[in-house]
Amino acid sequence: MTTISKTSNVPAPRSAPEGTPLLEVRDLHVEFHTRDGVAKAVNGVSYSVNAGETLAVLGESGSGKSVTAQAIMGILDMPPGKIPHGEILFQGQDLLKLPAEDFRKIRGQKIAMIFQDALSSLNPVHTVGAQLGEMFRVHRGMSKKDATAKAVELMDRVKIPAAKARVGDYPHQFSGGMRQRIMIAMAMALEPDLIIADEPTTALDVTVQAQVMDLLAELQREMNMGLILITHDLGVVADVADKIAVMYGGRIVENAPVHEIYKRPAHPYTRGLLDSIPRLDQKGQELYAIKGLPPNLLNIPSGCAFNPRCPKAQDICRTDVPVLHQVTERDGSELPGRGSACHFWKEQIHG
């Protein structure tokens, strides 16, 4: 067999051919083998991100958005996690087929990740300077002194006041917003091509949320990075994202450029999400909520996973899994980048 030729393919050419997206996920499946059975967390997700582009992945807890990100990062716990299917092409190279050591070198250098809860995601027993500097020491082989200088530079860049004085502080000595800035600085350290931000503002209060999102967007623009923004906050998405992928039950149910989705959602689930946003002009009225609970991943409903909660479900929704249809205008003209996994997308968008 061709084990030799396979390893000799690596390292692959740095610059992928023109037109290939920075990251392309193709038909990714992830399952977790637990005592109670196989939980299918991701069931055929495909999406792509280009350099300088922001993709927002939207969905409830358990929709598989974080698991997809962890699969891209290669930080899934395997076992119990398993990727039976799919490709993750980064700069044209399938990460899933990469030897562990080569994949490790991509993490942090080429793809970096920002986690949700900065307090638990930063190591409590090391100074932030050491944790930031570690990137340079491990990946660039810098001395401790140079790495600390770099750490100060990074902290300045994410606008942490008195960076030089605070480089020796521990994570618990910072406020929540500052801690998240440190997480961002850590992800930015080696100027990666792609950043995955897993609910970067969920643990922060609203005033700080905006600051952190602005900072993230600004740094992304400066470095022309691809950004995958995982969130369940539609308000955050509107400002920074270029396109949106809505996930439900481990599948993408709708794809769209960001502004279109607010105007004309093509999936009942997206509609429900938009209606759940509290609005000032409806003050005093009862808030809308999508009825029911997210699907149990051990036992996903047959047909469309959303059918038990869908106000428009018909018989076909309970039997046939809808494919991701190309969404078009009423007259049949193409709507670029739009897709909906609903049997009745036409009624939803044009009805």
Partner: protein, 314 residues
Amino acid sequence: MGRYLIRRLIQAIPVLIGATFLIYWLSFKLPGDPIQALAGEKKADPLVAAMLREKYHLNDSFLSQYWNYISNLFQGNFGETLTGRSVWDKITEAFPYTMNLAIVAFLIEAVVGVLAGIMAALRRGKFLDQLVLLSTLLVISIPVFVSGFILQLTLGVQLKNSWGIDFFPVSFNENDGIRAYLLPALVLASTSLAYVARLTRTSLMETMRADYVRTATAKGLPRRRVVGRHALRNALIPIVTFLGADLGSLMGGAVITEKIFNIHGIGGLLAESVYRKEGTVIVGVVSLLIIVYLVANLIVDLLYAVLDPRIRYA
């Protein structure tokens, strides 16, 4: 930090007084007559007995005896045995053996225990993990006097007879240097070693699931660094607690192990003085052990702050 240290040292005083009082009272209440015990089988000479009783204040009330003792103790005078030897001399004679034994045992249990625990945690559910779990369970359930004799027989006698390797002396001999302590220290350390291995395994497995370990992996750090620098450093905190407390109890001597290997340490001294009802020796030794315990505990508490920067003492 300085204030914390002073407060802890002041707190130690009532503990010391309370403990000596209790022990003194217990040895006062021991049945039998120490003077008669001195004479052995035959009847003690009444004249000599009366003289000794007078000399050692044995006719006084308990409180006055205790006061007498404690005021001497605070002047650094540990008193003397009923045969006229200084208690301090007896302790300093026995203590070096116990301390050497404790240090060797501590090193064995810390190094081997932590390493076994790390290997088990990193190969969770695999053969090595099962091996560590099973062997530690076995060690924990075997009493010291059994494992002592088994090791004496296998490593000490059979290894020498069938392989010609005379590395583990069966009986303690000072001239063997550190080699003399290996076998007894192994026996003494075995149970704690098993606990340390299991504790390390659990603690490390727990921290390996922590968010910051996931972050470390996502940073593209080599696994060795993820485990060593990020997980282990945090996992070490409960292990240090256990090791610190255990160092205290190792210093307290090991009656059975010392007996098996014929080491004349603190454990043996204590057992012997209980047997002879020598209150002064018992209380002297116990006071010393309490001090050792208190110091070990204090060191552990101070180490916490070194290991975990979130802990600060004021």
